[in-house]
């Protein structure tokens, strides 16, 4: 119960307006001062947390994302997907799912995916006569693929916190990501089949030409994921060389990235990394407090008392994550739960890569579950639609994500097959 009390206290501080890192710092220090009458050696704790080669991946992935967004490397993707799929039943919606899937494979961010694809796709879908709900839902839902299909910023953090291989996690997200994309596309096929080209639609573009234009940006995920999969680089190195590759493509081929953009991107990526890493550092103190209060042991005992099975525990965790996902954002959810849950995973012999994928699916749900639901804010920002309307649009996507989670709980192989094939010992 201590764990839930602490979570509640933390939420109160956050809702009072404390930045996440300050709340994660001060609450545990207060508790430790009260319980133990003294403070831990803060300096070592903080530095121990942020000084490590594994963390190098974080600023590099952030930089890669900023370069690609600023360099507008992927602007042609939707055009290519649309050219290829406009003739299919429900094609305008399916093209949106396809563009989200490919954009997801390039960016580590769901918001960036929903924002970039949504800006171009929503007006198009509405012109084709898709329902507003259908158009909003597919962007909000499709956007969440950004963190499931690698690269994924939350997966990088999860890998760091749990000392799991980033490469294994990335590969584990790929098949579930494609599975979810297929489910979303099938939903568009079934419910939005009535959408057809308006009278005044321009003649269809030749898909081959559109694809060739998008070719360089499509080579980026091949470079990054192929590089990891073929064992040419580690994930950190893939982030570094991938950033370099993205800079070269944007600057030399698309000519969309000037020095100014690059330097702005570097500065933003740096601040972004600093914000995230401050939270990681503060989470070290929170984790230290949990250990000192023997919270993991308490949680393990609780699970045992309830007589939960492995699957029962996983389901209970998914419910807890869903509840946290209503009010918190991805990184905080990972950092707040993992220190307490990790020992329980070890106790049950639950694979960390598998759990990481399930966690990511629940983070996807968090992205579209109000009141704190970033992808819905994105739709509202793009369209100016009232939040209530946007909120209703995501119900089918929530249900599909829940179905996907259930499938991966029942068949762990969906997630683990690919990393096993690549030789990760899991």
């Amino acid at each position: 119960m201590t764990f839930f009390l602490l979570l509640a206290a933390l939420l109160v501080l956050l809702y009072l307006g404390l930045p996440m890192f300050a709340a994660l710092f001060l609450l545990p220090l207060g508790v430790l001062l009260w319980v133990e009458g003294g403070l831990p050696a803060l300096g070592e704790l903080v530095l121990g947390q942020i000084d490590g080669y594994l963390l190098v991946a974080i600023p590099l992935f952030m930089l890669m994302a900023h370069v690609m967004v600023r360099g507008r490397v992927v602007d042609d993707l939707y055009a290519a997907a649309f050219a290829a799929l406009r003739g299919v039943r429900g094609g305008v919606g399916i093209a949106t799912v396809a563009a989200c899937t490919i954009f997801a494979a390039i960016s580590g961010s769901s918001v960036a995916t929903a924002l970039t694809v949504g800006k171009i796709a929503i007006p198009q879908m509405l012109r084709y006569g898709m329902s507003r709900r259908g158009a909003f839902g597919v962007v909000a839902g499709g956007g969440t693929l950004g963190i499931l299909i690698p690269p994924s910023a939350p997966m990088v953090l999860y890998a760091y916190v749990t000392e799991t291989s980033i490469g294994a996690l990335f590969l584990a997200g790929l098949v579930p990501g494609v599975m979810m994309a297929l489910m979303f596309a099938a939903y568009c096929f079934i419910t939005e089949g009535h959408a057809v080209a308006p009278e005044d639609a321009p003649p269809p573009e030749n898909p081959a030409i559109a694809l060739r234009r998008a070719g360089w940006s499509l080579s980026l995920p091949v470079f990054v994921l192929g590089g990891i999969y073929m064992g040419i680089f580690t994930a950190t190195e893939a982030a570094g060389t991938g950033t370099l590759y993205a800079i070269l493509i944007a600057a030399l081929i698309y000519r969309t990235l000037g020095w100014r953009d690059l330097l702005d991107g570097v500065q933003e990526a740096t601040r972004t990394s600093a914000m995230l890493l401050m939270i990681i550092a503060a989470a070290a103190i929170y984790g230290y407090m949990l250990t000192k209060l023997q919270v993991p042991q308490e949680l393990t005992a609780l699970v045992t008392d309830w007589g939960l099975s492995r699957t029962g525990f996983i389901i209970a965790m998914m419910v807890l994550l869903f509840l946290l996902g209503l009010v918190l954002e991805s990184f905080s959810i990972i950092l707040l739960t993992m220190p307490a849950v990790l020992p329980v995973l070890a106790q049950f012999g639950i694979d960390k890569v598998w759990y990481g994928v399930l966690l990511t699916l629940s983070l996807e749900m968090a992205l579209i579950s109000p009141p704190v639901a970033m992808n819905l804010v994105v739709i509202k920002a793009i369209t100016g639609a009232p939040l209530a309307e946007v909120n209703r649009s995501i119900i089918p996507y929530m249900l599909m994500l829940a179905l996907g989670t259930a499938l991966i709980i029942a068949f762990p192989g969906i997630a683990l097959w690919l990393p096993r094939l690549a030789g990760y010992g899991i």
Binding site: L14, Y15, L16, G17, L18, P19, M20, F21, A22, L26, L29, L39, L42, G43, V46, L47, I50, D51, G52, Y53, V56, P59, L60, M62, A65, H66, S109, S110, V111, A112, I147, P154, L157, E237, A239, G240, T241, V266, Q267, E268, T270, R271, T272, S273, A274, M275, L276, M278, I279, A282, E329, S330, F331, S332, L363, P371, V372, M374, V377, A381
Partner: protein, 186 residues
């Protein structure tokens, strides 16, 4: 947005310092990128992995975090939950912002103090890194430096608020999207 001259001067000096920190941190990010790429190159083209480069890249992360965090604070960018505070107006909003900045100043103070202790201890015992000849405190020194800057920035913001003025970059609740969603993992 008018401030008394002294306050404005202090705010400007603090902004300069924190901007300098952010520039250094950005250089660290670029160096990180360079080191990782060179390290890959050394392994494939020269057939000679250079573990030292990886260690240095790890240290640069420490510099990135601690030198850029103050500037993020100055821009009110640090991640928080703004569903509730975003809806407040007037005095309530000022109060919440003041509470936020004061909490950051307190964190800065605690980190400054413990950072100085840590550096002193490492120097006394002579703790070394894995790279020959590099003592640990060279890297640890970023902690008190960054913490000091963070505290300064937050105190300047709190002082401005207490004087009834608006600190720079204070969000006014009109933005739809938070400024950097990537930092939330979203």
């Amino acid at each position: 947005m008018r401030m008394p001259g002294a306050t404005r001067g202090i705010a400007r000096a603090v902004a300069l310092l924190s901007g300098l920190g952010a520039v250094l941190a950005s250089v660290a990010t670029l160096l990180c990128l360079l080191l990782v790429c060179v390290s890959v190159g050394a392994r494939y083209f020269a057939g000679n992995p250079l573990p030292v480069l990886d260690r240095c890249a790890g240290w640069l992360v420490v510099a990135i975090v601690l030198l850029a965090a103050p500037e993020a604070q100055r821009r009110f960018e640090h991640i928080g939950v703004d569903v509730l505070t975003g809806r407040l107006r007037g005095v309530a909003r000022r109060g919440a912002t003041l509470l936020g900045t004061l909490s950051v100043a307190l964190v800065g103070y605690l980190l400054l103090q413990s950072g100085l202790e840590t550096v002193a201890f490492s120097r006394m015992i002579g703790i070394m890194t894995e790279v020959e000849g590099v003592p640990v405190w060279w890297i640890q020194a970023f902690l008190p430096a960054g913490a000091f800057l963070l505290m300064l920035v937050a105190l300047a913001q709190a002082a401005t608020l207490l004087l009834g003025e608006e600190p720079e970059h204070l969000p006014d609740g009109s933005e739809d999207l938070p400024r950097d969603t990537l930092a939330r993992g979203e």
